[in-house]
Symmetry: C2
Subunit: 394 residues, 2 copies
């Protein structure tokens, strides 16, 4: 491996390695792939006139999603944010609770906490999984919480820490064994933000099925899309029923009467969007294979470049490689922005990880632990073009 | 007119009058009509791969919706509940405020108030419009509120009454002149729940354009549908921009960086749903004409039946007749349930108005005025089959 002499040279090499895999012209960060029955099912949905919150596709989508993930139940939602909000409600999060979430996640995780009237409590991440740093969190909770009446109490704020919502970043599973242990040891409900990890497994089991409830997203940039959409995964019949009830205005079933037994939401995925989802689920295994093949191609393409490494799936995990990622060596962190500029200017869309959430002014008063792991990752991660069709030999 | 001798006879006559207009076999309460470019635009959207929160149809839908309604700006939302929530936020509703809403409305109006952390304050309705009883409300506010620092304060609860959210019930415009006067006299922001009134005008101006902001719905049962969807109408550029910002996670525009400057929402209508909406908007004038023709047919059909009257549009209004409605004379109120049973059992879907919201346990602690007008209406209103195609001579 030849040493890199200056930032421009590294940026050139990164661009070259991307182009070698993603083609010579340009590439988006992530485009959907429609190669199956998308047209057919949309037309069938339209012809039925059942395009809204009731229809066969939304029921079918739930059944097939449960089957694919191995969750006992899936409940379709209007988008990933709605699914996350609902997941936290089902976990019992109420006003003035705290919810442990990584500082290194998309803002939707934190927003969903605030929709419950609760407060995000930011925890650190580590570089093996890009997920929550379990050892560091264990030590932090040991020192900073106490147990009272079966609840985990923050010693400083005196608030209940009700839930922990890890995010499987870019599709790489977090350390779920460690998270389950923390959940059990500290009486903190585990809610998985699996928005990015449809198709990703931890020890052979699908992400989103380890916690009380998991939340998926089918936004346009995800592995499969329903236009906008999301879903809850759970193994509890009671929670699945409650999720459906709360996502359909808590209407009590009756032929003509309109009664509602609690404050609730209009969070049901429309049948039109589910029609697209049913077709996308059919090609999901093919999309995952293409994304995994793309990862291998990137690994090879970046293997000869000093100072940058391609992110492979964590041990014992099978990742969907939703967003393909390279990591700069710390000494090259100051080259990150030049690489972003050069690649985007050349038509190959790249981006850094999200700005860490604890820095946003709306979360300035949120509690947080030492976040040095996340801060290091923020400086050195770059996502590169990741569409499934790039791994399909197109 | 022959006097009705017993409940069974009245139920028979109502069923007969419905069948005379809606056909001999069966009729849903409200089905969508797809007769235009629905499939063409859906296919075009799919072929573009832009099915999610960015795309030409969602922008086009906003422009055409503004043009049709005469609002300066329209901002597409994921559904009517999201639009209502956003509308209240834009009107400045914050935690522990009160919002005046009719007890006689769909539960979404009240739920949206609670999403802001605010409290619904139930007000009475009258039979000319099915909307808020202005005279009664004026007297109530005079007696029960005071002005402090430009805010309207509830004398009993000491909370700020921040907004009033009238609902244009079944598409019939409320008394907007009276509502504007109350808004001005008492410093209470006017937010129109126009979920049911797309195409309805008050004094020649479209509902939803009188208040600071109005909220529309395009749910599957509405005059036009996007599967699920809603929109805000406003004449304020500042509020329109804020609505779009807050409905797209408050992301600050940047080529690759992810920063968000406040707690916000994933409330944007997907492009896929907007594609359907663009096609539906094209046939909206035709749908409204059909629904108005259907109203005339029902008026004639019910004109000979003693004890029941067909609801016509309020004075100076042009109604979309979203849900066609009959009103029983008070002395026949006890026949309502028999009529509902008989018609539904015969395949002609009918329903009463929503159960009044102040009776639900989740709103048991909400303030309310005397609601005798709404209570009378609840006992005597029945919606009858209202699909546009019934007025198209099919």
């Amino acid at each position: 491996m030849n040493p890199v002499r200056n930032p421009e040279e590294l940026a050139d090499k990164v661009l070259g390695a991307i182009k070698a895999v993603a083609g010579l012209d340009s590439a988006m960060l992530h485009e959907p792939t429609f190669q199956g029955n998308e047209w057919k099912y949309l037309k069938e949905c339209l012809d039925s006139t059942f395009v809204s919150s009731v229809g066969k596709f939304v029921d079918q989508f739930e059944v097939e999603l449960a089957s694919y993930t191995g969750a006992k139940y899936a409940v379709a939602m209007v988008n990933g944010s709605a699914a996350l909000h609902m997941a936290l409600l089902l976990a019992g999060v109420v006003r003035d609770d705290e919810v442990l979430i990584p500082a290194l996640t998309f803002v939707a995780t934190a927003n969903a906490v605030t929709y419950c009237g609760a407060i995000p409590h930011f925890v650190d991440s580590e570089k093996q999984t890009f997920g929550i740093d379990i050892d560091k969190l264990s030590a932090y909770l040991q020192a900073n919480t106490l147990q009272e009446g079966g609840n985990c109490i923050n010693r400083v704020t005196r608030r209940v820490i009700r839930a922990i919502a890890p995010m499987h970043v870019f599709g790489h599973p977090s350390n779920l064994e460690g998270l389950l242990k923390i959940s059990k040891d500290y009486n903190i409900a585990l809610v998985e933000d699996a928005a990015e990890s449809l198709g990703s497994q931890y020890c052979g089991r699908h992400t989103g099925t380890f916690g009380i409830v998991g939340a998926l997203s089918f936004n346009g940039n995800k592995t499969i899309t329903t236009g906008g959409g999301g879903a809850l995964l759970t193994n509890s019949l009671e929670l699945a029923r409650l999720a459906k009830h709360l996502s359909t205005t808590a209407k009590i079933p009756h032929q003509w009467e309109y009664s509602h037994d609690c404050v609730a939401f209009n969070y049901r995925m429309p049948n039109l969007n589910a029609a697209l989802g049913c077709a996308q689920l059919e090609i999901l295994p093919k999309l995952i294979e293409a994304k995994r093949k793309l990862a291998l191609e990137y690994r090879n393409s970046f293997s000869g470049i000093e100072g940058v490494s391609f992110k492979l799936e964590p041990e014992n995990c099978r990742s969907n490689y939703w967003l393909q990622t390279i990591i700069l060596d710390s000494k090259h962190a100051n080259t990150r922005d030049r690489i972003l500029e050069k690649t985007n200017q050349s038509g190959f869309m790249t981006r850094p990880v999200w700005n860490l959430l604890h820095k946003f002014k709306q979360f300035a008063n949120s509690p947080k632990m030492d976040l040095s792991g996340a801060i290091d990752l923020e400086k050195t991660l770059i996502n590169i073009p990741s569409s499934a069709h790039l791994g399909m030999g197109n």
